[in-house]
């Protein structure tokens, strides 16, 4: 019971962090049709900016300043990079962001070096939030979940309840009509791209010190975020939330479980021996299989439900 609850909470907080990353990605995709390959790199920049700012003036200003900085960076990339390749089609836009991800990782190493930087959790948030039976739940994990939920609610309100949100939605489905009505659709695209990157930056600010801030951090979450977006359904925000929570919880449970098929067979009275066919597969524990679970889920979803969990359209 204790194990289940704590793991569930950890899974939830990891899933919410994944959602912060994937929401920006899926927003950008649904608006512009661009899968931003460099999205995780913006996450990394968020963490590094936060590290640089918090080492000078503290964590709280960093929390406020770093995401807008990343957003501006993203808007600049859209304005001066993506817009130039837009005329060649989506594949070229994807290739552009792919090249960008190479350059960004090198820039981070150029500025902050190749080793991990000591970006620590602020003192106010260091400590246990509550104790469940005998296990303590860190306060910072709770803070992460709070920020993620706040972000979820405010993004939803912004998109559905404000004027700019309505313009964004109009530009999403009917770009020509929105343009004819006098809205600057390219600027809306730039705003959305910058906003999506800012969300990734925010995830970097609060994820960077919960995990490790290092040049490899973009690569570790990068492919998982794409899995989330595809599994949730390309362009579906609710699907992204569902898929992030699913993947977050499944992965957190899987790494903690040390059972294998061989154990199961042994319990059923048919213990396999090294001579049994497929013995290496049977002895794999669930925790060993954990890294491939998201990708397995991706393949399964694509076979049985190609439009994703909550996706509306196919293709």
């Amino acid at each position: 019971m204790e194990f289940t609850l704590i793991t569930l909470l950890n899974g939830l907080s990891y899933g919410l962090l994944l959602f912060m990353l994937s929401s920006g990605l899926t927003l950008i995709f649904s608006m512009m049709g661009v899968l931003n390959f460099a999205h995780a790199s913006f996450y990394m920049f968020g963490a590094y900016f936060a590290y640089a700012i918090s080492s000078k003036i503290g964590f709280w200003p960093a929390l406020l300043l770093a995401p807008p900085l990343v957003g501006v960076l993203g808007a600049l990339v859209e304005r001066y990079g993506l817009r130039a390749v837009h005329k060649y089609g989506h594949i070229h836009e994807l290739l552009f962001t792919f090249g960008l991800s190479y350059v960004m990782v090198e820039l981070v190493q150029l500025i902050w070096g190749r080793a991990a930087v000591p970006y620590a959790i602020p003192k106010e948030l260091d400590g246990p939030l509550f104790t469940l039976y005998t296990t303590t739940f860190p306060m910072y994990r709770g803070f992460m979940m709070l920020i993620a939920l706040l972000m979820l609610v405010s993004t939803w309100l912004l998109l559905t309840r404000t004027r700019i949100g309505l313009v964004i939605q109009a530009a999403l489905t009917h770009p020509d009509m929105a343009e004819a009505l006098g809205h600057n659709v390219p600027r809306v695209f730039m705003l959305v791209f910058g906003g999506g990157c800012a969300l990734a930056g925010l995830a970097g600010v609060i994820g960077g010190n919960a995990f490790v801030t290092e040049p490899g951090m973009a690569a570790t979450v990068g492919s998982i975020v794409f899995v989330v977006v595809v599994v949730g359904g390309m362009g579906s925000l609710a699907g992204a939330l569902l898929a992030s929570l699913l993947i977050g919880i499944v992965q957190t449970f899987a790494v903690a479980l040390d059972h294998s098929l061989a154990d199961l067979l042994a319990r059923l009275g048919a213990a396999p021996t090294p001579d049994t066919f497929g013995y290496p597969v049977l002895t794999l524990t669930i925790s060993q299989v954990a890294p491939i679970l998201p990708y397995l889920l991706l393949v399964l979803v694509l076979i049985f439900r190609p439009r994703g969990l909550l996706g509306r359209r196919e293709g």
């Binding site: 552009f96 492919s223 595809v230 491939i292 076979i303």
Partner: protein, 427 residues
Amino acid sequence: MAKMLTFRPINLGRRIVWGGYALLLALAPLVFDSGTSLSLLSQVGTVTIACLSYNMLLGQGGMLSFGHAVYSGLGAFVAIHALNLAAGGSLPLPVTLVPLVGGLAGMAFGVIFGYVTTRKAGTTFAMITLGIVELVFACSLMFPQFFGGEGGISGNRVIGEPFLGISYGPQLQVYYLIAFWLFVSTAAMFAFTQTPLGRIINAVRDNPERAEFIGYDTHKVRYLTLILSAFFAGISGGLAAINFEIVTAENVSAARSGALLLFTFIGGVGFFFGPILGALMCVFLTVMLSDFTKAWQLYVGLFFIAIVVFAPGGIAGILALHLRVAKHGMYARIWTPLWRVVLAALVMLTGAFACIEMLYHRSLESANGTTMKLFGLQVDTAAALPWVAAVALLGAGTALFAATRPAFAEAWGRANGEIEELARRGA
């Protein structure tokens, strides 16, 4: 019955091109005969096959794959296991045919993975391939029996008695093995573009809906193309296994797949020979650059972005455009603005290179003192003068570039516009 009259012209141009290609492959090691250049040439050969097979997907099928190294890498693993079995005597297999084993293995994995990936095209296809490559890479740590864990699987290519003096011990013999397979694969892949399947995959790339309306199953067309492409990727993997005598999990990684994508795209996906240029240039660049500078990945990334933004046809596209201008005798008109803009770009790049190198030195190697070598000069990164010089070069180059570019763009645009007008009138 009257004798059927057939017209079979001798296609001289094609014979010259392929004959020259074969001659080039045969003579290259005589010109570049040092040990380093031989192993470099061998590496270029294997990468060329992989890039050509990748272009079957990207260039001819419009399928942007982030996971092509899965097929070459798994082919390499099966090939090295086959090589080890043959060395142990339990498999009667000459080393010459080991690449074929790799190819068949790549093909088998293409049959398995391709069924899932090719159900979609475009962006979704790209994402699924990324998922597949991560899946396989994660599996490599789960099955150390097959993937050899962190250390990989190593083998020995010199097995059995030498046949006609060929033991594959010396690098030269391995080079000729690679060159042989390279020539055969290139010819086969070119022949593929002339087959009905090779034609219809172009149609599926350009307009899948119309391809379906004329009665083709786009999924099936993509699937078959991917299987064939995986076959050639596997051959390249098998050759790499023989060449390096070791295969590690890095061979199936997303990084390796990304490199294939970069190389192929830089070479140019619109032309059959583009990937050959790309592989040749990029392998040389990465090997040379990684000797010279720590920032080579930054340069490769920036170069790739520049190609995507300014020359989406890649190097082959640039060459083809210049050849077209030259063929119409308009080169004299663009020559003057061209050399001006190239000169300005060179000044700009030199300044940028100096800045980046000094920045790298400052942030990564400052522990070993502040002096470094740059363009053969001893430079102190703590002093102000080198920085001022580098930034001034960069600034002057950028200004010159901005000043000379419009004239070039105009001359270039006008020449190409006239050529297109001529082509339209001729048609």
